[in-house]
Subunit: 378 residues, 3 copies
């Protein structure tokens, strides 16, 4: 880890996948619970500050709040509380150097900033990504087995009119072993019927059905909007062994001729597998968001692994920051660190020219995202 290359430090970024910030103040336990993918601190373990991300908060976030590097956790949290949630968020979001944020508003929207609030706080542009499952869960109650397909398509069309992309969380619900063909109308109707029966039997309105997740994805692709997939690393609800991106191979093969981008998010610890898919499938793009801030000091090692075989035109930047303002800054700052370390090593070995290095940065930092999401058309 070395000083940032100047053209990396100044690189305008598009964060193509993140969420809103919590609007209220945050107590220590809540802070720790939002810091990593753990739901809570462990009575058997120690503070979640005892981790690479905890160290990174104290190293990289403390100075943004006018504290010395490595300030103790208690001092950090006190200072944070004194500044107030709004000022803290404003500082961290503006420290990112991000011009455009793509916000997935589908998770706990009530406790987070809206897209408009976020943009104002960040002093940048914010664009909406629509979570497919959230639309389906809104539609199903007023629908029927026979009507669900059309009702969903109609509602998605409306919501997507001002969105730049869509997102599937099939990984969280059924894993990524989605079949490689569009489900037929009778299959969708039967699956919707089963879902409605479960809801009528008192189960929560929670989509978890391979046929329907797949139907949502194909319906989304019909709109021509890029579809993001949660892949790999997530919280304890994920069955991580069912979230290897390679399980999507059949679906990717079936959709490669449509010319609609599919974006594999996060991917850790399967990021080399994702890079393979980005190389061999024309419409597949990848990032290592979420892992970047969680791995702190080790983020550069992970990014370097992704870049082994993923073409530079297929790699994007995202933080997957959620809730805590620190995470936007950490995700961004550690991504810049990783990119700079990678390029410094390559330049030192004379493996590329500085012109190439600058071009690579522009692609990964913002050009790929702008080419794919095309928000000027919205």
């Amino acid at each position: 880890m070395t000083d940032l290359l100047p053209f990396v430090a100044d690189l305008p970024l598009v964060d193509h996948h993140c969420h809103g910030v919590v609007t209220g103040d945050v107590a220590r336990a809540d802070f720790e619970a939002m810091l990593t993918e753990a739901d809570t601190t462990s009575p058997l373990g120690t503070s979640l500050f005892d981790s690479l991300i905890g160290l990174a908060v104290r190293e990289r976030c403390a100075p943004v709040l006018d504290l010395p590097k490595h300030a103790p956790a208690e001092a950090y949290l006190e200072r944070r509380a004194r500044l107030g949630a709004a000022e803290v968020a404003r500082r961290f979001l503006r420290a990112t150097g991000t011009t455009d944020f793509l916000l997935d508003g589908g998770f706990r929207p009530d406790s987070l900033t809206t897209t408009g609030e976020f943009a104002e706080m960040a002093g940048g542009r914010a664009h909406d990504v629509v979570r497919l499952e959230q639309v389906a869960e809104a539609v199903i109650r007023g629908s029927t087995a026979a009507g669900f397909a059309a009702d969903f398509a109609g509602e998605l069309g409306k919501r997507a009119a001002t969105a730049v992309g869509l997102k599937s969380i099939a990984a969280y619900r059924v894993g990524l072993e989605l079949a490689g063909e569009r489900p037929s109308p009778p299959e969708v109707e039967a699956a919707a019927g089963r879902w409605l029966a479960r809801i009528e039997a008192g189960e929560p309105v929670r989509l978890a059905d391979e046929v329907l997740h797949r139907f949502l994805v194909f319906t989304g692709l019909d709109l021509g909007l890029p579809v993001q997939f949660h892949v790999g690393y997530g919280d304890a609800d994920v069955d991580l062994h069912r979230c290897d991106p390679l399980r999507l191979t059949g679906l990717l093969r079936a959709t490669r001729d449509r010319g609609v981008p599919i974006l594999l998010l996060h991917n850790y610890p399967f990021h080399r597998n994702a890079a393979y898919l980005a190389q061999v499938f024309e419409h597949v793009f990848v990032d290592v968001g979420l892992a970047t801030h969680n791995a702190g000091f080790r983020a550069p090692a992970i990014l370097a692994e992704l870049l082994e075989i993923a073409p530079f035109g297929k790699v994007l930047f995202s933080t997957d920051a959620f809730g805590l303002a620190e995470l936007y800054h950490l995700g961004t700052s550690l991504f810049r660190q990783g990119l700079s370390d990678f390029l410094r090593a390559a330049l030192a070995a004379d493996a590329l020219s500085e012109v190439d290095a600058v071009r690579l940065c522009a692609l990964v930092g913002h050009e790929n995202a702008k080419r794919i999401y095309r928000w000027e058309h919205v």
Copy 2:
């Protein structure tokens, strides 16, 4: 790889998973067979000294036997024979700087030191870890299908009275795809009946039944003792693709509210997956024992990968050394090297303070183990 940081060189260690030392002298073929996870040398390959662990023996063990670094294998083995097994074991065990050894006595106990002999040889404390399957295999012959559950629980209670932990080798027998619920008494009875029938039909008394391995684990958790799982890397008997720790997700989800630690041992090459589990499940702890000494010069790279997302309060040290005295020394010495290299890099990048580095060492080196195993209570 650089000189050890002084506070890493002096760090007292708890080796939370190892085995006894062979008591007799060791011929070259036997030495090579114990050096790695290969059963034997290959007539198609070359000496197992031609490996990173072989080089590490000549680099790091030769000086302990008063030879120069990189002494040839023949000279090394001659010197070893001249000193005699007892003196060799004494030297290597005492070179570790380990205060407490947790010994799994369940594999080939007849050829190895007992816990008492080991402690005396090592000049440290030694504690027992009881292998669940060994108890079950001792109990089954005098038991019945209907009585097995109670007989096992009774015998385990007795044997565990002076133990600090338990261990499952389900990975070696049926893989780690253990279901996420406690088997019911009828299920256990039926499985015990099937096992007894196989024994009566002349098969060896070898437990390999998903229901029973799972029953053993839940019965062990009832005692409140930490349960270790063999995970990942092992010898040719392992079906490594069935030993990814992610396969334990269901069982871990089902046991997280019990407050009893579960320890994932070894984990290589799935150590990043294990680190994920340690982050999201409150009761899960991890190490990279066995890989540490096998990877020699590359051990620091593996430890660094583990530490990416595993909280420092959830990482332990073990050697998984078995039989050869060299392995205790190598596992320990290479773990210190890895920890030191990791921290030197982090310090050089100003990613943590020296105070943090010292604290991290204490957690991983001994504090986590003492908090979990609580042998002062035994």
Copy 3:
């Protein structure tokens, strides 16, 4: 990445798995399509020159064509066209320092050099590796269900008479989950019957049947010739999740007593899993060909991971170069870089002596291959 150690720069190499070179000139689109495992450039992405392999071409190949390092892609392709395919091939093949090439002639033989042409162009020796599936597909049409086993064995015996090894591409057709026993004659007959029925029904003559791929492998082992397996990384036809070498565990366990080498090719991103198999199974050997040139500047990191637990007597060199003359040079040059970087780091840490380093190079560079393939006996 540093200057090559002199004994690595001068190391004679055996490339134990590669293919012929294309005989004609190559337009830009075709060049890009052959550069990586992508079938084509992506209209959604950018040039495939924007990748580590693209940078490596401009860094390492441009000077061989008398251009400065990092020459632009257009200039490179112009120069290449001006020199002509034959001169380009001659330059790159002779730059490798490879004494012996083992050529798998089973893929698109019509557009590539023959073994004899290749040897002359390269100024080295070239040996044949016979692709099992190609023989089966040649035999099946003139055969019957009952006669296929004998017909295949007869034809393979003939073709293998002047070959040094055999190759299975089961990975591409059915994945690597091959059962751990030789299929019985009735099973082979039934499978051959099913295949013939598909052919008679108008399907292409393409073998994809677990029983038959397995039969081919066992028949090959009967000849005592080393059997190579495509493993892991490949083009979009591969279901990569079915190509983890660990899926071969049962077959490897079943064949370990035959004393016939099995070679796991490529392996990326499962190369650590392959290294495990090379350690625990006497007859298993590994490489990281294909990934080496694709990962460009990152190739050394991948080779270092392979060497963690794979014994040096079990690791071989290959490029898996196909078609483009650049790939032979890149695969070789980056392999030397990886080996040199690995050894420089080990020497700097005093983890081995220079004598050991030289010995390790000889094993991996050519001795292992000569011991296994024994072409002087052909």
